[in-house]
């Protein structure tokens, strides 16, 4: 459905997009995951023909994307990072305005607007102006304005930034609902938990290129880490650290400020083996946790950095 080929964009000397390649299929929730500055928003901007790009090819619904390709634009709904509504219009009027830019028939538009308000849960706020809404409610309004016209493709650029957990959950649920109703969704975020929660496929971006693409499971299989074991409040000697390093299936050990982090490749009983060693050495320790690999681990292993610093 959407094809981005060899996209290159520079801001002066800075290379924002470095031969980015993406393919998104109809019906999926596609996540663009990456730290701040990795080029996610720039990619979206180019995709929507808001930004000029230096090289590359962008196709949506099989057609080349240009600023005046109104047929394509009519089928896209956008929710950008910053709230983009009219301060002087009420909630209802804002949604009505934007829906009206896509849907011409009056009755249909009215119905869509009502449904959008219900969808985001703003029924009690219809007549209020944006200034009177809290951050979470504003975001909901922002979303309503973007999806009221029931677009085929919805692009969301970090829609949950600075949003309270309750609203955030509602938003994520809403996105899944929209997807169920038939919309393809491109979702950018730097919160890996969100990506893990709702995205069917994820592309991890860094420095303007996609460094890994696939489903959650595919991505996690790309890395060595099968399990990450953390032990707190532990006192170790350097020799003991080396011993732990030598345990079967352990491939990375980190010991800093009394916290031990052990990464093992996927195998059974990793934790048991390590705890046995502790017992043998009569080492005392505090809290123990074992985690399956996260996308942060994927990012970490591939780039050597954390997703969020």
């Amino acid at each position: 459905m959407i094809k981005i080929e060899n996209l290159v964009k520079r801001y002066g000397d800075l290379l924002a997009l470095d031969h980015l390649n993406l393919e998104i299929d109809e019906g999926e929730i596609f996540g663009l995951l990456g730290p701040n500055g990795s080029g996610k928003s720039t990619a979206i901007g180019c995709l929507l023909s808001l930004l000029k790009y230096d090289k590359g090819n962008i196709e949506i619904f099989g057609r080349k994307m240009t600023p005046d390709n109104y047929e394509v634009k009519r089928q896209i709904g956008v929710i950008l990072q910053n709230v983009a509504v009219f301060d002087e219009l009420t909630v209802y009027e804002n949604i009505d305005y934007f829906c009206g830019l896509y849907v011409k028939e009056r009755d249909k538009k009215k119905q869509y607007v009502q449904e959008a308000i219900a969808f985001v849960g703003l029924e009690n706020y219809e007549k209020m102006r944006p200034k009177k809404l809290s951050g979470g409610l504003l975001r909901r309004l922002n979303i309503a304005c973007g999806i009221a016209h029931k677009p085929r493709l919805i692009i969301m650029d970090e829609p949950t930034v600075a949003v309270d957990p309750q609203s955030r959950n509602k938003i994520l649920e809403g996105i899944q609902e929209l997807n169920k109703q038939g919309s393809t969704i491109i979702y950018t975020t730097h919160y890996m938990e969100e990506a893990e929660q709702i995205c069917s496929r994820i592309a991890i971006m860094d420095h303007g290129r996609s460094i890994a693409i696939g489903t959650k499971e595919e991505l996690k299989k790309m890395i060595k880490t099968g399990e990450a074991i953390t032990i707190e409040n532990i006192q170790l000697e350097q020799s003991q650290v080396s011993d732990i390093r030598a345990i079967r299936h352990v491939f990375q050990v980190e010991y800093k400020e009394d916290v031990l982090t052990v990464r093992c490749s996927e195998a059974r009983h990793n934790l048991v083996r390590i705890l046995n060693y502790m017992q043998e050495q009569e080492i005392t320790f505090g809290q123990v946790s074992s985690q399956l690999p996260t996308l942060n681990d994927v990012f970490l292993e591939i780039t050597g950095k954390q997703l969020r610093d």
Binding site: Y70, A84, F86, E88
Partner: protein
């Protein structure tokens, strides 16, 4: 399109304080003008205080004092006479308690400390006395037989001057302040245009970015915004014109229709200027506002807002400025409508205004219609 316009109006009109001030401040200024300038011809002379220093007693001195007394007692209330010694008088003159000192010695003389109208009146009184006295002497010397007739004529002082007015509708030069005020109000549409620009340029606000992504042709959005704002501003300016004409009674004796036409074009220029400046690239918002203020105030100043005759001075020294300054063109067009019917000049002004308006509109459109940006 209607959909866009409807929301443009709603959005603009609800911007309470903006609307309030855009409409109200020219009206407040106009009212202030009315009270300061409009009432100026009703300003009367205040009575002029003058000191008299009596020197040696003489016939001449006596006659003159008699003369002064007559004037003081007449209805005209021009002067108020105080008799002082020389020192006291000199001090009074320096401290501006009197405007002049008459010394009644052998020769009557006047001493003043400045060159204003009041001093001129005192001088003129003295001249009148001196001339009359001289005249009597001359008649006595040359045609003594006509003395009686002369005295009879003198006591029968006639007003030999009749007031007439020129053919034009009004020559009240103070009206030009009001024309300049309307011109300034037109130019101030730039602030409305500025706000509109912010909502149209995707690299300026998120709202604009969202509007640029919609399938509505950018041209439609721009047109509806510009048109909506223009209408609002034009209504504001029209209210001002009507207020001045019908409530304050300023002498706009010409056709109201033509005046509104000129105001309309002026409004368009103001709004376009705002859009032009608002859409400009890499300068801060404060600087943009500063530029708009600077341009509109300078244009208004040069068209005679603060100093009435400024436009005329510009005409004498740099006439080209008057041909391109929109405020000057607007005031000139008003002059043609209300003061002296000069169709040729009027159409020239109107034409230039229209061209300016179209140029600015085109410039504004060219900048704003950009769909793709270097960065957002």
């Amino acid at each position: 399109m209607l959909h866009l316009l409807k929301y443009r109006f709603k959005s603009s009109l609800r911007n309470g304080s903006s609307m309030f001030w855009a409409l109200l401040f020219p009206i407040i200024l106009g009212t202030l003008f009315y009270f300061t300038i409009g009432k100026m011809d009703e300003a009367d002379f205040s009575t002029i205080p003058v000191a008299v220093v009596v020197g040696e007693v003489s016939q001449e001195a006596d006659n003159f004092q008699h003369f002064l007394q007559e004037i003081e007692e007449s209805d005209s209330d021009i002067i108020q006479v105080q008799y002082m010694t020389e020192d006291v008088a000199a001090k009074a003159l320096e401290e501006k308690e009197v405007k002049g000192i008459f010394y009644t010695e052998d020769q009557i003389s006047l001493t003043v400390a400045a060159k204003g109208i009041e001093e001129s009146i005192l001088e003129s009184l003295l001249n009148s006395y001196v001339d009359s006295a001289k005249m009597m002497t001359q008649i006595g010397q040359i045609h003594p037989e006509g003395m009686n007739a002369a005295i009879s004529s003198m006591s029968n002082y006639q007003n030999l001057v009749q007031s007439v007015s020129l053919k034009g509708k009004t020559i009240d030069g103070n009206v030009q302040y009001f024309y300049a005020l309307i011109a300034m109000a037109c130019m101030y549409g730039c602030f409305l245009g500025f706000d509109a620009a912010l909502g149209l340029q995707a690299n300026l606000t998120p709202l604009a970015a969202r509007r640029c992504i919609t399938p509505t042709h950018k041209l439609k959005i721009i047109a509806s915004d510009m048109f909506g704002i223009f209408i609002i501003h034009f209504v504001n300016v029209s209210i001002l014109v009507l207020y001045l004409r019908f409530i304050l009674g300023i002498g706009f004796d010409g056709e109201m229709g033509k005046m509104l036409l000129v105001s309309g074009i002026g409004s368009m220029i103001g709004v376009s200027l705002g859009i032009l400046v608002g859409s400009a690239g890499r300068i801060t918002e404060n600087l943009k506002v500063g530029i708009m203020l600077g341009v509109s105030m300078t244009c208004s100043f040069l068209s005679g807002l603060m100093v009435g005759g400024m436009k005329d001075i510009v005409e004498k020294h740099a006439p080209l400025l008057n041909r391109v300054n929109p405020a000057a063109l607007i005031t000139d067009a008003f002059y043609c409508i209300n003061v002296y019917d000069n169709p040729g000049r009027f159409y020239r002004d109107l034409g230039t205004l229209a061209v300016l308006g179209i140029l600015m509109l085109a410039g504004a459109y060219l900048i704003v219609r950009k769909e793709c940006y270097e960065s957002v």
